[in-house]
């Protein structure tokens, strides 16, 4: 299966812990080189942010990255056109806010994702009750719409999110915004555990996963991690693709090492 979910399931089946690093599209002229560096460092999927003027669920780092990209003239169309030119074998997952999707119309937008080789979509301000239309349009374009679960989500909703999500289930590790943190939130581990109990889909933890140790810890209950702010902080501070790729590589190494430890599996 060449869907996002198929790829992630088969990697998991091989005993791999899943790693999905993020970059804000259009943050620099050579932003797509970060994707290549992530792939080389052993990413299982790469996540591309389409910047929005009002990123409600993002902390300071991604806000800054978004503002920068927009100031450079980034737009969804331009980023997707650049993405279409990139040679990658790992799945591409786009993350953006509802307004960018509905501005173009859900069908048009999903068609453009497909044309850019995108196989997954995350929309953090589109919860279960509002996602129906996009679920249909995404499926029609062969794009997996990833739904998010939060520590405040009821067991009933967790089950429904597990059923309706495609690609993976995004476990938002804490009640807060994206951003680097010193520690992985306990609430995230509990959430991943609860999700694993109700769904067979891959469960990836995100928000605040900042260090290799966090990734290892997250993967004791979940199947993988999304890493965004910690990498974007480095990009904003001037680190190039090779340097940020090395950060991803360090996470990969730790995750692989932990996967080999017998205590890692149930």
């Amino acid at each position: 299966m060449n869907t996002l979910e198929g790829r992630l399931r088969s990697a998991r089946h091989q005993g791999r812990k899943l790693l999905a690093p993020y970059v804000t599209g259009g943050i620099s002229d050579d932003w797509t080189r970060y994707l290549a560096a992530y792939q080389d460092a052993g990413a299982d999927a790469v996540e591309i942010g389409l910047p929005f003027s009002d990123p409600m669920l993002d902390g300071g780092t991604i806000q800054e990255a978004s503002d920068r990209a927009l100031a450079r003239g980034a737009s969804a169309d331009r980023i997707l056109a650049e993405l279409a030119e990139v040679d990658l074998t790992v799945p591409r997952v786009v993350m953006t806010y509802t307004n960018l999707v509905v501005r173009q119309g859900v069908e048009t937008f999903c068609g453009k994702l497909r044309d850019a080789g995108v196989s997954g979509l995350i929309v953090p301000d589109l919860p279960l009750g509002e996602s129906g239309e996009l679920e249909g349009a995404a499926a029609a374009s062969g794009v997996d719409l990833v739904l998010l679960a939060a520590p405040s989500t009821s067991p009933e909703r967790l089950r429904e999110i597990g059923e309706r999500s495609r690609g993976f289930v995004y476990a938002v590790s804490l009640m807060g915004t994206t951003g680097e943190r010193d520690q992985l939130a306990e609430s995230g581990l509990a959430l991943a555990r609860a999700l694993k109990a109700v769904t067979d889909r891959p469960v990836l933890l995100g928000f605040g996963v900042s260090r290799p140790a966090h990734a290892v810890q997250a993967c004791r209950t979940g199947d993988g991690v999304v890493v965004a702010s910690a990498l974007m902080r480095r990009v904003i501070d001037g680190a190039g693709p090779a340097e940020v790729g090395a950060d991803v590589d360090a996470m990969r190494t730790e995750l692989d090492r932990s996967a080999d430890e017998p205590t890692g599996s149930p």
């Binding site: 169309d77 960018l100 301000d125 279960l128 915004t177």
Partner: protein, 403 residues
């Protein structure tokens, strides 16, 4: 007069358009909804449930009515604008929300939400503010009910509404400057939402207008309908026809207008919402989703939200409440714009003619009346009920600079 609009067609539209409860999914027509991160869904669902219960509970209603009367000073007067009426050739009545405690209509909504928050066991109020009037009202209600308040305000607004910033501090609220984006109301909303995600257990987000995720647009309109209900009864006593020909209010997010319109939507009155030229989502906006709801927003072709620009901080907002978008689609309300210059002129004229110094926001409504009176839009001899949403004290530094 064009009776076709007054009689028949409005009768039909009213039945279809009436400002009723939104649908189960929080929709007014195509607009509204609950576009929030999953983390906030349970809080929105709980708020919907709690508001329904409270609003159906006579004790809650009595509690709120009593506070509105003995604390906020309701009912507010309906003042005939004698000299302006004579000058303009119309009958102009002013609903005096400037006389309410804290100086604007914002207190109506805030007292309702603060009582509700307390009923829900919350100990802290979060608010966004533009002009500072909603922040002041929130700080006031928090002081009254022994809660704490955190108010998010754009850095640009902090500069131009310094008096209200000081006032909030006096009342014991914490004012958090917001330096992102346009550094105005839109960014204060973003930051308040972000903060709420992390504080949802102990804090209630007291949204200041008919915007945000369901149930806010509906709940805030219900808390503000006291303006329209009072004005309806006052008009019945004041006007031979019983209801005015025109009902006019300024529109930022649209709460004073929604509360006003709610009292007249089932009459033949024509409803006019007046936006700032530089923040006119109804006039220049396109459909989109921001701050938890689907409505009309100023934005570019890629879906990036545009910054609003208005002399009045309270109308410097790129969106508009979903129910207004719906009323506009139905043709039940009409939305017009006025320029900053017209607004300054309106403030001056109201001062000189009636001895009332209104807020820049409120002056938008008057500016349209001044422009339209005597034209086909607002024919000579018409009766007009205009909501004067607040008083101008907060704007004095800006006006001193402008003069």
């Amino acid at each position: 007069m064009d009776t076709s609009l007054v009689g028949d067609s409005h009768g039909g539209i009213v039945a279809a358009a009436g400002m009723r409860e939104p649908s189960d999914t929080g929709r007014f027509g195509d607009y509204g909804g609950q576009f929030v991160p999953e983390s906030l869904v349970p809080a929105c669902v709980a708020l919907d449930r709690e508001f329904r219960q409270a609003w159906a509970d006579p004790r809650f209603r009595q509690q709120l009515e009593r506070l509105l009367a003995v604390y906020a000073g309701r009912p507010t007067a309906l003042t005939p604008a004698w000299r302006l009426s004579a000058e303009l050739g119309i009958t102009l009545l002013l609903k005096r929300e400037d006389l309410a405690h804290t100086g604007s209509h914002k207190i109506n909504n805030v007292l309702g939400q603060a009582l509700l928050a307390r009923r829900m066991g919350k100990t802290r109020l979060i608010a966004e503010t533009g002009a500072g009037q909603h922040g002041v009202a929130t700080a006031t209600a928090a002081a009254l009910l022994g809660m704490s308040a955190t108010v998010f305000m754009g850095e640009r607004d902090i500069e131009r509404q310094a008096l209200n910033v000081f006032r909030m501090g006096m009342l014991g609220a914490e004012v958090v400057p917001v330096g992102s984006g346009s550094r105005t109301l839109k960014d204060a909303c973003n930051e308040a939402m972000r903060h709420w995600v992390g504080a949802v257990d102990e804090a209630h987000y007291c949204i200041g207008s008919v915007m945000g995720p369901h149930p806010y647009p509906w709940m805030v309109r219900e808390f503000q309908r006291v303006i329209g209900d009072e004005a309806r009864a006052q008009c019945a006593a004041e006007l031979t026809a019983g209801t005015p020909d025109f009902v006019v209010a300024c529109v930022g997010g649209g709460s004073n207008a929604a509360g006003t319109f709610a009292g007249f939507v089932d009459t033949p009155a024509r409803l006019i919402g007046v936006e700032a030229e530089g923040g006119a989502a109804m006039t220049f906006g396109a459909n989109g989703v921001l701050h938890g709801y689907r409505s009309k927003f100023l934005q570019d072709e890629h879906g990036q939200v545009r910054e609003a620009h208005s002399i009045s901080a309270g109308l410097d907002y790129p969106g508009v409440g979903p129910e207004h978008a719906h009323l506009g689609d139905l043709g039940r309300a009409r939305y017009v714009t006025v320029s900053d210059e017209e607004v300054l002129d309106a403030v001056n004229r109201l001062c000189r003619a009636e001895g009332i110094f209104c807020a820049l926001e409120s002056a938008h409504a008057l500016a349209w009346v001044l422009r339209a009176a005597g034209s086909a839009e607002l024919p000579t001899g018409s009766t007009v009920m205009l909501t004067l949403s607040g008083r101008g004290d907060k704007d004095m530094p800006a006006l001193m600079e402008a003069s």
